[in-house]
C-alpha cells in the first residue's frame, strides 16, 4: 500500500485546496513547502504503511465493500477521554476511543447483533455448557509489533477478575455470582470454566479487551495497573489489538489515532485493514456545536443526532454533501419513574407520605394511561420516535414481546383506576387521596436535556387533567443522579436507558432487585412486591437456559410483569439518527451504539487523496 503522507497531512490542515492543483513545477514547490509546514506541526512520522501479510499469520477476512486506502476521518467526542486504560475506563468518550484501540476474543457484531469470531479463531463448548475451549489467532501482533499469545489472554482476565483492581469489567464476568475461570492450554489455546451453564456466555467476551502483558505486567505486579495509561502520560505507549493506535493527544482539542499496521483483519481481496490512515476525534462539548460543525463540513461523521437537529440537517441536505440515516427505533427507552425506595425512618416524611400513592399499582397505571405518548413522539421528537408500553424496544426485534398490549391514552380509564384506589376529585377538580390530601408531586428534570424537560412538561399537562398538581424541578444532571442513586430525596424523575446489547442479560442490572441500575428502588423495600420477586426469579432462571425459544418465553413473562405493574412507566424509544459525509463510504449503520463507527476499520474515503471541500 503506498504511503500517502502529503494528502493526510494537508487534509488535516484544511489547506488542501492546493493539492488538487495539477502538479506543474511551480505548484509542486508550493505543495512541498506546505507539506514541510504541516509535517512539522503534526509530528515527525507519516502513517506507517501496513505490514505485508506474512504466510503464517492467521488473519480474519471480512465481507464488505473493497475500499481505498488512505485519508483521515474526523469524528467528535463530547468530552476528553478521562482514562484510556481498558481496565478502569468508565466514561463514554474513553470507551469510544478504546473500541478502536483494542480487540476482544469474541465480538458482538453490532449490525447483525450476533457474536462472531475476533481474536478467538474458533471455540468449542462442552455438552453441559460450562467449559469453553478457545483457539486463538496465531502469529498476529499488538500495535507495537509484539506478538500476541495465550499469556496475554490469561493476563487480561486475571487483571479484570482481580478484586483489588476494582475493574468495572469484573461484574460482567460473573456467572451465577462466581467469576469465570481462565486456564492456558497451549501457546494459542485457552479454556474458560463457568460455574453454571450460561445462555449468553459468548457475549461475555465482547469488550473484555485483551491487554498487552509485555507492557502492563510490571504495573500489575506493583499494584499500579489502575493508574497506568492515563491519557495525560504518554498516550503513544498504549498498544492494543484494535485497528488503530494513538498518534497524538491535545487535551481539550483532539485525539488523533493512526492505523495499526499489524491489524489482523483483511478485506475480501486480502488488503490489510483499516483503510483509513487516521481517525481524529475533535472534542466538541455540545450537541448543537457538533451539528453546526457537521453542517459546516468540519466533521465527517455524526454518530447520533437528536430529532430536532435531524430536521434542521434534513432541510439543508439537498445543498450540502452529506447523507442522513433514520434507522428507526433503537435500544434506548425513556421512562418516568417514582421513588419506590424503602426510606424507613430516616427519609423525608413528606416523600414517605407520597410513597403510599406511588406504591399503588393503580396509581402508576393511571399515570401511564393518562400520558399522551403520541404527543410526546410528535412534539418532542418530530415523529422520530416510537411510543412504548414495555421496556424492550421495537429495535430489539429478537426479544420484544409483541403480545404486550398498547392501550390508547384514556383519561376515563385513568380516572376509574384512581377511583378504585380510593382517590376522589374535589369540587375544584383537585385529586385527593383517601385521607383528603391533594395529590401533588414533583418531577426532577435537568435543563441540559431539553427533550426530557419537554416530556415532563407534556406529562405535567396530561396529569393536570386528572387533577394532579405536578411541579417540575430543574436540577443539574449530576444532582439528579445523586438524588436518584444515593440520597433518594426525590419523588419522581424522567431518565433514559440504552442497552449496549440485544441480549436480555445486561437488563438484569436494571430489573432485578439489588441491580446497579434498579433505578426506582436501589434500596429495595421489604418485603419485595410479589411481582418483583417473580421478575428476580425469572431473570436468574433465563441466564441458565440455553435454548433461545425457552429463554424468550421466560423473558416475555418478565416483560409482561413489568408492563403490568409499571415500576417504570415506559414512554418512548427515540429513533437512531446518524449523519455521514458523502465522501465517506463503507458505512453500514447499526441500531446498537456506535451506530456508524462500529466498523471503522472498513470505512474509507471515496477519494482519499483529493481535497477536503
Amino acid at each position: 500500500m503506498p504511503c500517502k503522507p502529503a494528502s493526510a497531512a494537508l487534509r488535516s490542515e484544511k489547506a488542501s485546496e492546493t493539492s488538487i492543483i495539477p502538479m506543474n513545477t511551480t505548484n509542486k514547490r508550493l505543495v512541498l513547502a506546505l507539506l514541510a509546514v504541516t509535517l512539522s506541526t503534526y509530528g515527525t512520522c507519516a502513517p506507517q504503511a501496513s505490514q505485508a501479510v506474512k504466510a503464517n499469520e492467521e488473519l480474519m477476512a471480512v465481507q464488505g465493500e473493497i475500499g481505498k486506502p488512505g485519508g483521515r476521518l474526523i469524528a467528535s467526542l463530547r468530552a476528553d477521554p478521562k482514562n484510556l486504560n481498558p481496565v478502569t475506563a468508565l466514561d463514554l468518550p474513553s470507551k469510544q476511543v478504546l473500541s478502536l484501540l483494542f480487540a476482544d476474543l469474541i465480538h458482538i457484531n453490532l449490525y447483525t447483533q450476533r457474536t462472531e469470531p475476533a481474536l478467538a479463531k474458533s471455540w468449542t463448548v462442552s455438552p453441559d455448557g460450562r467449559h469453553y475451549t478457545i483457539e486463538l489467532r496465531r502469529n498476529i501482533s499488538f500495535s507495537d509489533g509484539h506478538p500476541f499469545d495465550a499469556d496475554d489472554v490469561v493476563f487480561s482476565f486475571t487483571v479484570y477478575l482481580d478484586e483489588k483492581v476494582h475493574s468495572p469489567q469484573r461484574d460482567l464476568l460473573l456467572v451465577g455470582g462466581k467469576p469465570v475461570q481462565v486456564r492456558k492450554l497451549g501457546p494459542y489455546r485457552v479454556a474458560f470454566d463457568l460455574d453454571q451453564p450460561y445462555a449468553a456466555a459468548e457475549r461475555l467476551f465482547d469488550s473484555a479487551y485483551i491487554l498487552p502483558r509485555h507492557l502492563l505486567e510490571q504495573a500489575y505486579k506493583d499494584g499500579k495497573i489502575s493508574q497506568a495509561w492515563s491519557p495525560a502520560q504518554n498516550p503513544k505507549g498504549i498498544a492494543g489489538l484494535g485497528p488503530f493506535r494513538v498518534k497524538e493527544y491535545v487535551p481539550g482539542q483532539q485525539i488523533v489515532l493512526e492505523r495499526n499496521p499489524f491489524y489482523w483483519k483483511v478485506d475480501a481481496r486480502k488488503n490489510r485493514l483499516p483503510y483509513l490512515d487516521e481517525v481524529a476525534f475533535l472534542i466538541v462539548p455540545t450537541q448543537d456545536a457538533e451539528v453546526v460543525r457537521f453542517q459546516g463540513g468540519d466533521l465527517d461523521v455524526l454518530d447520533s443526532i437528536s430529532a430536532q437537529d435531524y430536521t434542521v440537517l434534513e432541510q439543508d441536505q439537498k445543498s450540502k454533501p452529506y447523507r442522513l440515516y433514520d434507522l428507526g427505533s433503537g435500544f434506548q427507552y425513556e421512562f418516568l419513574f417514582f421513588n419506590l425506595n424503602d426510606l424507613s425512618a430516616k427519609g423525608d416524611p413528606e416523600i414517605r407520605r407520597k410513597q403510599e400513592w406511588f406504591r399503588r399499582d393503580e396509581f402508576r397505571q393511571a399515570v401511564s394511561a393518562a400520558i399522551d405518548r403520541a404527543a410526546i413522539v410528535r412534539l418532542v421528537y418530530q415523529g422520530r420516535a416510537t411510543p412504548l408500553w414495555g421496556h424492550v424496544t421495537p429495535g430489539n426485534r429478537l426479544w420484544i414481546d409483541s403480545a404486550i398490549p398498547h392501550p390508547p391514552r384514556s383519561l376515563e380509564r385513568a380516572a376509574a383506576l384512581l377511583k378504585a384506589a380510593g382517590f376522589s376529585r374535589r369540587a375544584d377538580g383537585t385529586l385527593v387521596d383517601a385521607h383528603g390530601s391533594p395529590v401533588e408531586f414533583s418531577i426532577l428534570t435537568s435543563p441540559s436535556n431539553a427533550q426530557r424537560t419537554k416530556i415532563a412538561t407534556i406529562i405535567q399537562d396530561d396529569l393536570s387533567k386528572l387533577g394532579m398538581n405536578v411541579h417540575l424541578v430543574p436540577l443539574e444532571f449530576q444532582a439528579v443522579m445523586a438524588k436518584v442513586f444515593t440520597s433518594f430525596d426525590y419523588e419522581a424523575s424522567i431518565l433514559g436507558l440504552a442497552s449496549g446489547d440485544a441480549d436480555p442479560n445486561p437488563e438484569i442490572n436494571v430489573w432485578t432487585s439489588g441491580g446497579g441500575f434498579h433505578i426506582w428502588a436501589p434500596a429495595e423495600p421489604h418485603p419485595l412486591p410479589a411481582w418483583q420477586s417473580d421478575i428476580d426469579r425469572l431473570m436468574q432462571q433465563q441466564t441458565a437456559v440455553l435454548k433461545f425459544d425457552d429463554r424468550k418465553k421466560i423473558y416475555d413473562r418478565v416483560q409482561e410483569l413489568a408492563a403490568q405493574h409499571d415500576p417504570v412507566i415506559c414512554l418512548v424509544s427515540p429513533n437512531v439518527l446518524a449523519g455521514v459525509k458523502d465522501s465517506v463510504a463503507g458505512v453500514q449503520p447499526a441500531v446498537l451504539k456506535r451506530h456508524v463507527m462500529w466498523n471503522t476499520e472498513q470505512l474509507y474515503l471515496r477519494s482519499p487523496a483529493s481535497a477536503r471541500k
Binding site: T311, L379, S464
Partner: protein
Amino acid sequence: MAADRRVWLAAAGLALVHLCVLSAGLLAPYDPEEQNRDLPFSPPMRLHFVDSAGSFHLRPVVHPWVAFMADGAPRYQEDKTRALPIRFFVRGEKRGGGTGTAGRRLFGVDAPAHVYLLGTDDYGRDQLSRLLYGGQVSLFAGLLATMIALSLSLLLGGISGYFGSWADDIIMGSAEIFMALPWIYLLFAVRAFLPLHLDTRQAFFLVISIGGLTGWARPSRLIRGVVLSGKQRDYVRAARGFGASTAYILRRHVLPDVSSVALTQAALLVPHFILAEVALSFLGLGVGEPVPSWGNMLAGLQNYYVLKSYWWMSISGLALIPVFLLYYWLSDALQARLSGVAQ
C-alpha cells in the same frame, strides 16, 4: 421644561406597557398554559382586511393553519377556504389549575378554531397570551426587586452616610463583599438544596428576593455619598445649631436630595432586575413551566433548531427592547432634570 416633558413621556409609555400586561386577562385571547398539540411552532397568523375577491372588510379575518410535511419538517399553510372573522369581547374559558382567568376576552375567533397572532410555541401554546402573562411575571419581578433593593440601600446607605464611623465601615465593607460574590454559581448551589415542593409562585418570590438582596450594594454607596455631602451643607449645620432633631433634618433636608438620586437609580435598576429574572428563568432556575415568564419563553432558543427555524420564539426578547429603552430614557430624563435642578 424639556426634561420634564421627557420624563412624562417615558413614564406614560411605561405605564401603557404595564397596563397592557396587567390586563392580560382581557387582552390575551387564551389561557397561557393551554396546549394545542396539533399546532406546535405554528407561525403568526396574518390579519386579512381584503378577501380573496379583493373587496375590503372592516372586520379582519384570519385563515387557519393546515400542517403538512416538507423536507421532513412540519410546515404550515393558510387554509384559504376557511376564513375566521375576528370577534370582539368573546367569552373565554379558564383551564383547570391554570394561570388564566375566565371572563371576557378582547378578541378571538369562533371555537373550536384558534387565532394565534404571534404564533405558537413547541407545545402549541399561544405566544401572545404567554407574552402578556409572562410580562406580569418579568416586569413586576423587576419592580418588586427594585423596591426591595432600593429600600435596603436607602436604609443602609442612609445610616452609613449619616452616622459614619464604625456603622459606615461595617455596612460599606459588607456592600463590597456582596458585590464580589459570584451569584450565578451560588444560585445553582442554593437551588440544589431547596425543598422539592417549591411551587412556581414560591420560585418567583425567591428570584425576586435574591435579586433585591443582591442589588442593594451599589445604590447604597451612591446614597451614602449623597447623605454624607448633604449633612455637611451649611444650612444643615445651621438647622442643627438651632436644635433641629435628627428626624427633622433627615426629613426636611437630606431626603429631598436623596429621593431624586433614588428615582434615577430605580429607573436603572428595574431593567437590570428584569434582565436578571430573564437570565435565571432562561437557565431554568427562575420561574418554571408551565407558568410563562419572558425568560423561560426564551429558553427554547438554547436549541439550535429553534433558533434557526422559528423566529417568533424570540418574541419576548424583542419585547424587552422597547421596555428597556423606555426605562433608560426615563432614567436619562430624570438625570437631566436633576442636574437642571442642581443648577
